[in-house]
């Protein structure tokens, strides 16, 4: 990624980790449908349908982690509220699926979802209009998280709220949203959220084919998200972002409008999270306000930290590994899971500050070749994403 070139996808040429990742993703995307459909259920290689949905769910989480890595790894914005964008995308999709139920709900109302009938609502609230169209919902999946991120970032970045303060207010944001969505009056199903979906684009949502299609869509979205992230990172804008990450004031003094760079990447990241949420909801069949819980958002951060931030594929690796661990432990040793997760938080921050990817020699090799060059260009090596910030006690 040294010389920007005009050839298409040039940003991927130098990205060895990305090439490996994309090839692996392609292999999985091809293999899983084949093993699901073509291999007989008795065979050991058969991938059952529930497994397809599970893998699809992991891919959604991977995309979510990637979106966090995009802002944390490249722009130094640690968002502890990214679960909110994920959940908003999920709700937008959930609303569409809710409208698709039509009169097949328990109360059989052709327009109102069950929970509204239950609450004695007479007509559909205005913000539910349009969600019967898939295209509209798809736009909303991008637009709602994007708009919230724009609004939030506009205020936060312009007034130079950074570092820990930003993390805390993003956490407050998702907490406030959680409280809001728990209210029945909001018209989003309150406590129970949206569930009981029937079909998507006319196909049965429980059907094996639909599951496969959703899995492939999640894989495509992940690949697309990776492409977008890598494209941004390799562009001039990405270089400025790295500058912001490593020395925000210095970048600002050089004449860059730091807040616009941050705002742009924050919105892109929120939209990616929204897409992840939208693909997640049909695969798990429910969306409820607990997705907004601050604890969830912090967990995303640890996926990224475990995998290795600032690489994008590291985030994907971390998300898949930890979620596999979660599935395994909550099934086999439910008591132990929080111990494992908690220890991961501590051990990774203490002993693996670069994450798994950063600690594997195969991945860090190209970085070492680059390192002197990077050193010449910037005052700090780019592979230490978070240098110790100059604190008061370090000052003379």
């Amino acid at each position: 990624m040294t010389q920007p070139s005009n050839a298409p996808f040039s940003f991927l040429y130098q990205d060895r980790g990305g090439q490996i990742f994309l090839s692996l993703l392609l292999a999985v995307t091809l293999l899983v449908p084949i093993l699901n459909v073509a291999v007989s259920p008795e065979s050991a290689l058969h991938v059952p349908s529930y497994m397809v949905s599970l893998l699809g769910k992991y891919l959604c989480f991977a995309l979510l982690a990637l979106s966090v890595d995009l802002i944390w790894g490249f722009a130094g914005i640690l968002s502890l509220g990214h679960g909110a964008f994920f959940a908003l995308g999920g709700y937008a999709m959930g609303m569409h699926l809710m409208r698709q139920i039509g009169d097949r709900g328990v109360y059989g109302d052709p327009v109102l979802p069950d929970f509204m009938v239950f609450l004695n609502w007479q007509e559909l609230p205005w913000y539910w209009y349009g969600f019967d169209s898939f295209a509209f919902a798809a736009v909303m999946v991008l637009l709602v998280p994007g708009a919230l991120a724009f609004l939030f970032g506009w205020f936060a970045f312009r007034s130079r709220v950074t570092g820990v303060y930003l993390s805390i207010i993003t956490q407050a944001m998702t907490y406030a949203l959680m409280l809001a969505f728990f209210r029945n009056d909001m018209g989003f199903g309150g406590n129970n959220g949206l569930t009981d979906f029937k079909d998507i684009l006319g196909y049965d949502i429980q059907g094996d084919g639909t599951r496969l299609a959703l899995f492939v869509a999640s894989a495509l979205a992940l690949a697309l998200g990776y492409g977008v992230g890598r494209f941004i990172a390799a562009s001039r804008l990405g270089r400025v972002l790295v500058g912001v990450r490593d020395a925000e004031s210095r970048t600002r003094f050089l004449g860059y409008r730091v807040e616009y760079y941050k705002l742009f990447v924050f919105c892109v990241s929120a939209m990616l999270a929204g897409i992840a949420g939208a693909l997640y909801v049909p695969q798990v069949g429910i969306i409820n306000p607990s997705e907004f819980a601050p604890a969830n958002s912090i967990e995303i951060v640890i996926w990224v930290a475990v995998g290795g931030r600032g690489t994008l594929y590291g985030a994907v690796l971390g998300a898949i590994l930890i979620n596999y661990g979660k599935t395994y432990f909550t099934g086999a040793l439910p008591e132990a899971w929080l111990y494992v997760l908690g220890s991961l938080f501590i051990l990774v921050t203490l002993f693996l500050p670069k994450g798994l990817v950063g600690s594997l020699p195969a991945f860090s090799l190209p970085r070492k070749q680059e390192s002197p060059q990077a050193h010449a260009g910037e005052d700090k090596p780019s592979d230490t994403p978070h240098p110790p910030s100059p604190t008061s006690e370090a000052r003379p």
């Binding site: 640690l78 502890l80 205020f155 936060a156 312009r158 007034s159 130079r160 709220v161 570092g163 820990v164 303060y165 993390s167 805390i168 207010i169 956490q171 407050a172 944001m173 907490y175 406030a176 409280l179 809001a180 728990f182 209210r183 601050p294 604890a295 912090i298 951060v301 640890i302 930290a305 008591e335 929080l338 111990y339 997760l341 908690g342 220890s343 991961l344 938080f345 501590i346 990774v348 921050t349 203490l350 500050p353 978070h386 110790p388 910030s389 100059p390 604190t391 008061s392 006690e393 370090a394 000052r395 003379p396």
Partner: protein
């Protein structure tokens, strides 16, 4: 007047000489009449029983109100039945003797309706107005006020004369005024009674006055009631304001307790301690364990259990805090975001550890007697003792902390290390030890907060989670590194929250406060009372 004197005499007779022939006779007759199917007959019977002034009347009427008065099907005798297992133990109200048992199918319950219930309460109130037990007299005065039966006037006047406690006198006078205002024939008397009532700023009085202002025949009375109503409403509004203020201060003190430890760890040291809530939780569990030990070893100490729990919680949470500082946090100084993640991991482990140790359910923490109960100031303003104790305790903790920071050698070293670490080190201060002690202090104070919160919240492994975001909001809003800011921040968030609640509802109020703080941080990123100078540039 003659009638009134007479009835007072009758009543006195009834109380003093229960065997007077006519009284006993009317009680027995009336009791038999309770068997009637018509509610009207029952009503008359109840009135007669009450007027009989018989000593047995009270027990009988109370049984009737409680649905424990039965007719035996075989001989139509009225009996009091108390259910024990499958059968009813029967008592004869006439003799007060037990008369054996009967299964429910041999008995028929004497049914009453709401109108009769009201009448019964009033009658029972009248009968207990002269009871030697002051609590009963107080309850009776209120019951009579609610029933507002004109028959009660003589008893009330009698009771008012004999009453010596001013609080009960006031209640009796209120009941009397209420009856006069509703039932007196003379409008002038009514107006006087209404004027008396207007001094009672209570919701019940407001309802009564509203009723009179609408429905009375005389216009003078209606006008007087309207004026009195306005006065009462004004008073009530003022009390409601004060009530909100108290609620707000109470919430503020809870926030302050939860946040003040964080003001040390985050404010002074710059450590984002996400496990802070779990240190609070440790304090709450310490209280539980201390009480458990006291219950089994020395129950007489239970009243002092909280005073034992406070230092114990300080030591437990403080030691855990020092352990955390030495084992994790000291490697992460200057990397606030990493500290945040590591301490979050710690909080998960601590939560799960308590879940493994004590189970996921809520633990029962007892409240000592001196903290339960409440003081009622007029106008429905109720201050509970535990809330008052928490307000006092929170201020005490802040004061103590301020003293430690300002007046002790340790506080001096602590400030020196925060302001200029290398210089402090070269003056011979062992900065590592100071770091450990500072974090331990913050953690210990979190533990002390846990003792207080155990009194008002559920003690469960999730206790800390409920407070963590609120406490960060308080510290950030007040201004990091500023104890005074934390104090002001906590109380202003608490009060604003409580004043929003009646308008917007509890949850929406909380959301509005959160959004307001987020916007406030945009405007003043360093909080309400920002530290000025180089120290904040990190």
């Amino acid at each position: 007047m003659v009638f009134r004197m007479l009835s007072v005499l009758l009543l006195m007779g009834g109380f003093l000489i229960p065997t007077v022939a006519f009284a006993a006779g009317s009680f027995e007759d009336a009791l038999a009449n309770l068997n009637s199917r018509k509610f009207k007959d029952k009503q008359q019977a109840i009135t007669r029983i009450a007027e009989s002034g018989d000593a047995r009347a009270l027990v009988t009427l109370e049984a009737l109100l409680a649905g424990q008065l039965f007719t035996r099907k075989s001989d139509k005798k009225v009996l009091i039945g108390e259910k024990s297992h499958e059968v009813y133990r029967l008592t004869d109200p006439l003799t007060g003797q037990e008369t054996g048992q009967a299964p429910s199918k041999e008995l028929k319950k004497i049914r009453i309706n709401n109108k009769l219930r009201g009448l019964l309460r009033g009658a029972i109130g009248g009968l207990t107005l002269l009871s030697p037990d002051p609590d009963k007299r107080l309850a009776a005065a209120d019951a009579v006020f609610k029933a507002r039966s004109a028959d009660m006037v003589p008893v009330l006047e009698k009771a008012l004369q004999r009453e010596e406690e001013s609080q009960i006198q006031e209640r009796l006078a209120r009941a009397l005024a209420a009856i006069q205002a509703s039932h007196n024939q003379d409008p002038a008397q009514k107006v006087i009674a209404i004027d008396q009532l207007s001094h009672y700023s209570e919701p019940d009085v407001r309802a009564l006055l509203g009723n009179i202002a609408q429905n009375d025949e005389s216009e003078i009375v209606r006008d007087a009631a309207q004026k009195a109503l306005e006065r009462v409403e004004q008073d009530l509004a003022r009390w409601a304001l004060l009530g909100n203020l108290f609620q707000g201060i109470s919430l503020g003190s809870v926030l302050l307790l939860a946040a003040v430890g964080l003001a040390i760890t985050f404010g002074v040291m710059g450590v984002i301690n996400m496990a802070h809530g779990e240190l609070v939780m440790l304090g709450a569990y310490t209280t539980f364990v201390v009480q458990d030990v006291i219950r089994s070893a020395a129950p007489e100490l239970f009243e002092y259990s909280l005073f034992i729990a406070i230092p114990a919680a300080f030591i437990v949470a403080g030691s855990v805090g020092m352990l955390i500082e030495r084992s994790v946090i000291r490697y992460l100084y200057g990397r606030p975001l990493e500290t945040l993640l590591a301490t979050w991991g710690l909080s998960l482990i601590l939560q799960q550890f308590m879940r493994t140790l004590f189970g996921p359910t809520n633990q029962e923490v007892g409240t000592p007697d001196w903290m339960s109960g409440f003081v009622e100031i007029t106008g429905g303003l109720v201050l509970t003792y535990n809330r008052i104790a928490i307000i006092v305790f929170s201020l005490f903790v802040v004061l103590l902390l301020a003293l430690i920071l300002r007046k002790t050698a340790f506080g001096l070293q602590m400030r020196a290390v925060t302001q200029n670490r290398p210089m402090a080190a070269s003056m011979g201060i062992r900065t590592g030890v100071v770091d450990m002690m500072t974090f331990g202090l913050g953690a210990g104070i979190a533990g002390m907060a846990g003792v207080a919160l155990s009194q008002i919240d559920n003690v469960s492994p999730n206790l800390g989670q409920t407070y963590i975001i609120d406490s960060f909001m308080v510290v950030v809003f007040g201004g990091v590194g500023n104890l005074w800011g934390t104090l002001v921040g906590a109380f202003s968030i608490g009060i604003v929250n409580k004043f929003l609640e009646p308008v917007s509802g509890a949850v929406l109020g909380k959301i509005i406060v959160l959004v307001a703080i987020i916007l406030f941080i945009q405007k003043r990123p360093r909080g309400l009372f920002a530290l000025k100078g180089r120290a904040v540039e990190s």
